[in-house]
Symmetry: C3
Subunit: 262 residues, 3 copies
C-alpha cells in the first residue's frame, strides 16, 4: 500500500504543468523518504528531477517501495478536476494496476475520485554527480521566465555568460541581436527581487531557448530560481519548494555554438 | 405591434449565449403573457425551453400574438453591440419582415438600432408533461458547470446516479475513470453554496457530456441550477431567473450505456 | 549620432502596436525638432502619420538628420522585451547600419540591449494640406473602438453621417443592418466621456471598417479620439498624446458606396 495526502491540490497541479510538456511518461518512485521522479525529454537533451519529501505531506505511507508509471498528460487532466484548495490523496493498493486520486473539498460537500491506469515505463535512474559549479545565480523565477521568453522572440539559442560585469543573456537572430544583463543587487529593500551572483570563474555557454522556456513553466512553484553553470557540465535550473522538495532541470550546452556565433 | 423593453442588455446577452450553440434558428413566441421559445438541437437529442414573463419587462405590449423566427447567431452578434447596462427595446410592426433592437445608454449619449431579418421556421411546440421526478438536485450552477467540464476531459458520457450516498457523476475513458460525489449540505452558512438532494427513488442514467456542457452555458443566468431525473423521462436541467422566467433544457438518456459501461 | 531617451517603454510599445498591423516597414525621420513617421498601408488606401516632439523626451539629440528604415514587426518584438516602466534609449552612430535599443529597469538591476538592422525603404513624404473639415467629432477613444468593432460583426463598410441629429454610423449586411447614433453631450459631469460635435455642413461618407479597426489599435495611446470629415477629403482620425505629439490616420472614402447602399 502506498498513500500520500497533499494539503492542497494546487502544488501538484503546478508540478504537473511544469513537467508534462517536457516528458510524456515517467515513473514516480515512492520510497519511505519521499517521492522522486527523474526523466529525460524525448530528444534526450534535458533531464528533469523532482523530489517531494515524505515529511512534506499531511499523511505519507509506503509499505513497500513502489514505482508508479504514469502518463503525465492523463494525470494532468485528472489534476485539473481538483479545485485548488481541495486536499488530494493519492493511493495504490499492492498489486493494483491503477492509482487512485481522491479530491476532497474543504467543506466536505464534494468528493471526487479518479482512477488512472499505470504503465510499465523503462527507465534507469542516472546518478547525478554533485558538481562544483563555476557560477551560481539566484534570481526571481518570474524574471528568469521573462528573459527567456523575451529573447525567444529573436532567436533559438541563448548564450549565458557570467563575468565580473554580471550575467549576460545574448541572442542573435536574422533581424538583429539582443542581450539582457543582470547585475548583483546592491540594495536589500525587497529581498524577494534580489539578484545574487556567485562567480568562481568566468563561464560562457549556449543553450536552446526552447528547453529553457519549458523549464520556466516551473516558475509558479517557487518565487526564486537558481541557475548553476559549469564549463564541463550541463546547466542546472532549480526551483526550490521550501521544505517540501524541489523541481530541477539539467540541460546540455549547445556545443560549438559559441564559435559560430562570435 | 410587438414591443418589449429589457432594463439591461446583459440578461438578453446571457440568454443568447446559452442557446445559440445548441440551436441555430428558433421562433420566439410572443403572446400577452410573455415570450417563450422551444427548440430541439440539430440532432434532436435535447430540447431547450425559455420563458420570459411579460411582467418581468419594463414595458411589454403585444397587440396580436407574433412568432418571430430568428437566426440566433445573428441575434447574438447584434446583442454583443449593446453595452451590458444599455436598455434594450425589441419591437416589430405588424406585417414587418424585420425586428428592431434599440439600445440606449443610461446617459442617453449613445443610441444604437439594429434591424434583423425574420425567418420562416417550421416548428411545433411540444407539450411537455409535468413528470414526477425520482430525484431532484439543487446546486450552485458554477459547481454543475465545473463538474461537467472536468469530467469531459476523461470521456464522452457521464452516468448520474442518485442514492442514499448522494449524487454521483461517473465517467469512464481510455486513460482511466473518475467520479464526483456531491452530498446533501448540512451547514447553512452560505445558502448559495448549498447542495440540496431530494430522492424519492434511487435513479441512475447516462448522458452525453457534450450536451450537458452546452446546457451549462446558462450558468451565468442563475446562481443555482436544478437537475431532475426520472427512470422513464429525459433529464431536466433548469436555470431559474428569479421572477422573470427560466431557461430549461431536456436531454434524452443514452440507452444501453449503463450495461456497456459496467 | 542620434540619441533619444523615452522615460517609459510603455508609450513606445503602444505606438508600435498601433502601427505595425497597418504598415510593415517605415522610415523614422529624426530631425532636430523631433521624430516623424509617415507611411501608407500596403493597399495604399490609408496613411498613418506619427509625430514625437523632441522636447517630449528625457534626452534628445540629433547631430545630423537621420532616416531610420525599420521593420516595425521586428521593432515590436524588441519593444515587447522591455518592461513597461523601463527607460528606453534609442541611439545610432553615424554610418552605422543598426539602431540600438537600450532598456534600463528603474532599480538598475537589469539592462537589456538590442540591435536592429536598418533597411533602405523607398518613401516620399506627402504634404498633407490643412483642410477645412465639414464636421469634427471628439469622443472617448474607447467608445470609437467599440462602435467600429461592434459594427464590424455585421458588415464590411460603415457610413458615417453628421447631421443636426448627431453622428450616425450605419452598417448594412446580409443578416440585417445597424446604426449607432452619438449625440452632443449636454452634461459635463465627466468631461473625459463627453462627446463634442462641430458641424459646419452636413456630411456623409462610407469607409472600410477593416481600416477603422486597425486605426483603433491606437486607442490605448489617448483617452480621446478626434474624427474629422470632409466631402472632398479623406477621413482623419487623430489620437493626441498630450504634449508629446500625435498619431493620426487618414482614410480614403469608399466611392460610390452611398448609392449602392441606399
Amino acid at each position: 500500500m502506498f498513500e500520500a495526502r497533499f494539503p492542497e491540490a494546487l502544488l501538484l497541479k503546478k508540478i504537473l504543468e511544469a513537467i508534462k510538456d517536457l516528458v510524456q511518461d515517467a515513473n514516480f518512485e515512492c520510497t519511505e523518504s519521499g517521492i522522486t521522479l527523474q526523466a529525460m525529454d524525448n530528444a534526450h537533451v534535458s533531464l528533469v528531477t523532482l523530489l517531494l519529501r515524505g515529511e512534506g505531506f499531511d499523511l505519507y505511507r509506503v509499505d513497500k517501495p513502489e514505482s508508479l508509471g504514469i502518463n503525465l498528460n492523463s494525470m494532468s487532466k485528472i489534476m485539473r478536476c481538483a479545485a485548488n484548495n481541495d486536499t488530494v490523496t493519492v493511493d495504490k493498493l499492492e498489486g493494483a494496476d491503477t492509482v487512485r486520486f481522491l479530491f476532497e473539498s474543504p467543506n466536505a460537500d464534494r468528493m471526487s475520485e479518479f482512477h488512472l491506469k499505470l504503465m510499465d515505463i523503462d527507465s534507469e535512474t542516472l546518478e547525478i554527480p554533485e558538481s562544483m559549479y563555476h557560477a551560481e545565480i539566484e534570481l526571481p523565477s518570474a524574471e528568469l521566465r521573462r528573459i527567456v521568453s523575451d529573447l525567444s522572440t529573436m532567436g533559438d539559442s541563448v548564450r549565458i555568460s557570467v563575468s565580473k560585469e554580471g550575467v549576460r543573456f545574448t541572442v542573435r537572430g536574422d533581424e538583429g541581436s539582443g542581450s539582457v544583463i543582470l547585475r548583483q543587487s546592491t540594495g536589500v529593500d525587497k529581498p524577494e527581487e534580489a539578484i545574487h551572483i556567485v562567480m568562481n570563474e568566468p563561464v560562457e555557454q549556449s543553450f536552446a531557448l526552447k528547453y529553457l522556456n519549458l523549464f520556466c513553466k516551473a516558475a509558479p512553484l517557487s518565487a526564486r530560481a537558481q541557475i548553476k553553470l559549469s564549463k564541463d557540465a550541463p546547466l542546472l535550473v532549480n526551483f526550490s519548494m521550501n521544505n517540501i522538495g524541489y523541481l530541477a532541470y539539467y540541460l546540455a550546452p549547445k556545443i560549438g555554438d559559441e564559435d559560430i556565433e562570435e
